[in-house]
């Protein structure tokens, strides 16, 4: 009788221990799977992202540099006018001026010095979504635009970057 009770207690203890181990292992494995899924989704977005700066000009009153950027990848970007908020606040615009100074411009929805704003020029798809083949205009407000050689670099929220050299 004592042997049967001992065996039963040990069996129950073994099952409980195995269950606890299983629960812990499965939980960790799902965390591992979710992490890899997120990594895969991010890789897909980054691999599919590609942009190109296709032109630049400058205008006065107020002084501003205008650049046109084309989405030549498969990833779409949310910009102002979308129901899903906007992405431009996470973009970085850097300009190297002819005298060698290097400035970062932040996104501002209104025209302000040392800021940039964005407008979608040829939206044929969803409003507020910068999709494949579409072009945006970046208007960069700056105090002065001296003649000489410039370099512009645009970095989007997922790290995709385009760079171009130009001169006025």
């Amino acid at each position: 009788m004592q042997v049967v009770i001992s065996t039963a207690i040990l069996l129950i203890a073994t099952i409980i221990a195995a269950s606890v181990f299983t629960a812990a292992a499965i939980s960790e494995l799902y965390t591992f799977e979710n992490t890899f899924k997120q990594l895969g989704a991010r890789n897909e977005a980054v691999f599919g992202s590609n942009i190109a700066i296709i032109g630049e000009t400058n205008e006065s009153s107020p002084n501003r540099i205008i650049i046109w950027v084309k989405n030549i990848g498969t990833t779409s970007f949310v910009i102002s006018g979308s129901a899903n908020g906007s992405d431009e606040q996470y973009w970085d615009v850097f300009i190297t001026f002819p005298n060698g100074t290097y400035s970062r411009f932040a996104y501002c929805p209104t025209a302000q010095n040392a800021c940039f704003n964005v407008s979608l020029l040829n939206a044929v798809g969803t409003p507020g979504l910068w999709q494949t083949g579409e072009t945006v205009q970046l208007t960069i407000y700056t105090g002065s635009i001296p003649a000489g050689a410039y370099q512009v670099s645009l970095s989007l929220s997922n790290g995709v970057t385009a760079q171009d050299n130009f001169s006025f």
Binding site: S6, T7, L10, L11, T14, I15, A17, A18, S19, F21, T22, A25, I26, L29, Y30, F32, E33, F36, K37, L39, G40, A41, N43, E44, V46, F47, G48, N50, A52, I54, G55, E56, T57, W68, K70, I72, G73, T74, L121, N122, V124, T132, G133, E134, T135, Q137
Partner: protein, 180 residues
């Protein structure tokens, strides 16, 4: 005692099998996602390499406020008519009234006379030509005839040199200077 050990062993083996399945499935999904991403990125690059156009003619209209351009598809990729709005036309010219150089991105099919804009040349039929196949689409070796209209009342300064850049939907571009 032996019975309990066997059940515990079966339990651990089951856990190992489930764990192995989850790990294998995760790695497999990630490999698939990475593979599709690389294929997608490659197809973008391939499309860029296969698309190409050449400006085969530029003529400034008699009023100097219009430019007629012939573009030949010199690539191996068909550009369908629904993609025409994604063709970028960037025009640089000297404005006759101010003497200043202007660079403008031109809107496709716009009726807004305050903007520089471009459209298919309505005087050319068919357009793109020749319309042997796909009469609405710009197939390789076919020519697209477009008209660029300047924002009113801008006029190109006579004798000045302008610059026209055309960017295809895939990102490849062509450019040429012209005389005003």
């Amino acid at each position: 005692m032996g019975f309990g050990t066997i059940i515990a062993g079966i339990y651990f083996v089951a856990v190992l099998i489930v764990s192995g399945y989850v790990v294998t499935d995760t790695v497999s999904r990630m490999s698939n996602t990475s593979y599709e991403s690389v294929v997608s990125a490659s197809s973008i690059q391939l499309a860029q390499l296969r698309s190409s156009a050449s400006i085969t003619g530029i003529l400034v209209g008699s009023g100097a406020d219009e430019i007629y351009v012939n573009l030949t598809n010199t690539g191996n990729l068909k550009i369908v008519s629904s993609d025409f709005p994604q063709i970028d036309v960037i025009l640089t010219y000297t404005d006759n009234s101010t003497g200043l150089t202007q660079t403008h991105w031109c809107y496709y099919g716009s009726n807004d006379i305050t903007q520089d804009r471009w459209s298919l040349n309505s005087a050319i039929h068919p357009n793109p030509f020749p319309a042997v196949v796909n009469p609405l689409d710009w197939d390789p070796s076919k020519t697209l005839s477009i008209t660029i209209e300047l924002a009113q009342p801008s006029v190109i300064m006579s004798g000045s040199t302008g610059y026209l850049k055309i960017v295809l939907p895939q990102g490849s571009s062509t450019a040429q200077t012209f005389e005003g």
